[in-house]
Amino acid sequence: MANSSCSDVKVLGAWPSPFVTRVRIALNIKSVKYEFLEEALGSKSQLLLQSNPVYKKIPVLIHGGKPISESLIIVQYIDEVWSSGPSILPSDPYDRAIERFWAAYVDDKIFPSMKLINTAQGEEKAAIVEQVTEGLVLLEEAFQKSSKGKAFFGGDRIGFLDIAFGSMLGWLRAIEKMGGVKLLDEAKTPGLVQWAESLCADGAVKGIIPDTEKLVEFAKILVKMKGVPLGKN
């Protein structure tokens, strides 16, 4: 697809959401200009309700007036439409299956458990932290296999799993800080520690993953508002 004008591509989102972050990184990788429409906390715009009537959630990508929902579905759409840009998913079906597997693992196991650390205490908290750490060790193994000595899960370039997991780094650091715990560490997950640095320094990602301090402050606002889920799509 040729260059689109900025108004052609809109992202309905909110800066703290890691799911929105995924979409923004993907668009940056493809050098696609877009209009970012920030949803106000605690309310949903008419455009959002119209564009995602089933879930009424962000992120939504609106391309040429047509809406696409669900972050990883949006990322795949971006990869397929802007096919002349750097590829996000690998071309080999088996490699694609592996990246999809770990992306689902992040969404189904790692991120939900990470969020629980915030509200858990004592033994329960320790058990959840252990669970998350074990999951991250599995991801470390996957990283070693997939990166083949290069910087990213996708090798030389940022790929699907880099985006799926990397988008969580802001909240991972914030949860580490708020909970006084270490999730990614040099001893157990050295590859991922290095990967996180490389990812956050990359041009496509810089400035998109929110600052840890800002997220900690935001988390406090969420607690005061009560009932608003922590950064969840």
Binding site: V54, I68, E70, V81, P93, Y94, R96, F101
Partner: protein
């Protein structure tokens, strides 16, 4: 794809997730070896091929494992891409198909299980949720022959697996699928005309027996 491909499916006959893969393999006319797992006594092969989740289904293609039913179906579509595509070619339509696959995967299972294996208030709540989800699907199907339009595809593969449980839902939930969801009912008949679906799905009576056993085990009937 080469004829000397070795394809093994580790599965459990009752599993809706396994059925998705079986329909996909049948659609592509892929020869494979089916191995039924005893979930109370999982094989060494299953534990080796899916060490992370230790669950079926697992597709083993020339010795390499692919796990998670949706990922397996996509893999099958991408490897055996020369026949019976599961996905449309237009990126926007593909995104829509993925959206509905994801919706069915997330929203149908739990209310279905609860509708079939609870009673009283819990069942009424499950029934309400089940109806809400199926009303959305009825609306999405509309007057199209299949969910993705003219061609049977990924979304149909997913939802068709539930059709062998419709009789069970109707019986224990005390309602008629045909009355409540006429378009889905017509679509069900259409899907059952496909060999891949008709030969994969167990007899609805068998599924009813499975659920009946479960209900007895829970002391419901």
């Amino acid at each position: 794809m080469a004829d000397d491909d070795q394809v093994i499916l580790l599965d459990f006959w009752v599993s809706l997730f396994g059925m998705r893969v079986r329909i996909a393999l049948a659609e592509k006319e892929i020869k494979y070896e089916y191995r039924n797992e005893d979930l109370k006594n999982k094989s060494d092969l299953l534990l080796k091929m899916n060490p992370v989740n230790k669950k079926i289904p697992v597709l083993i293609h020339n010795g390499k494992p692919v796990c998670e039913s949706l990922i397996i179906v996509q893999y099958i579509d991408e490897v055996w891409k020369d026949r019976s595509p599961f996905m449309p070619s237009d990126p926007y339509e593909r995104a829509q198909a993925r959206f509905w696959v994801d919706f069915i995967d997330k929203k149908v299972y739990l209310p279905s299980v609860r509708l079939a294996t609870t009673k009283g208030e819990e069942q009424e709540a499950a029934k309400k949720e089940f109806f809400e989800v199926f009303e959305i699907l009825e609306g999405e199907l509309g007057d199209k022959p299949y969910f993705q339009g003219e061609a049977f595809g990924f979304v149909d593969i997913l939802l068709s697996t539930y059709t062998c449980y419709f009789h069970t839902f109707e019986t224990f939930g005390n309602f008629s699928m045909e009355v409540k969801f006429p378009k889905i009912t017509a679509w069900t008949k259409r899907c059952m005309q496909r060999e891949s679906v008709a030969k994969t799905l167990p007899d609805p009576k068998k599924m009813w027996e499975v659920v009946m056993e479960r209900r007895k085990g829970l002391g419901l009937d």
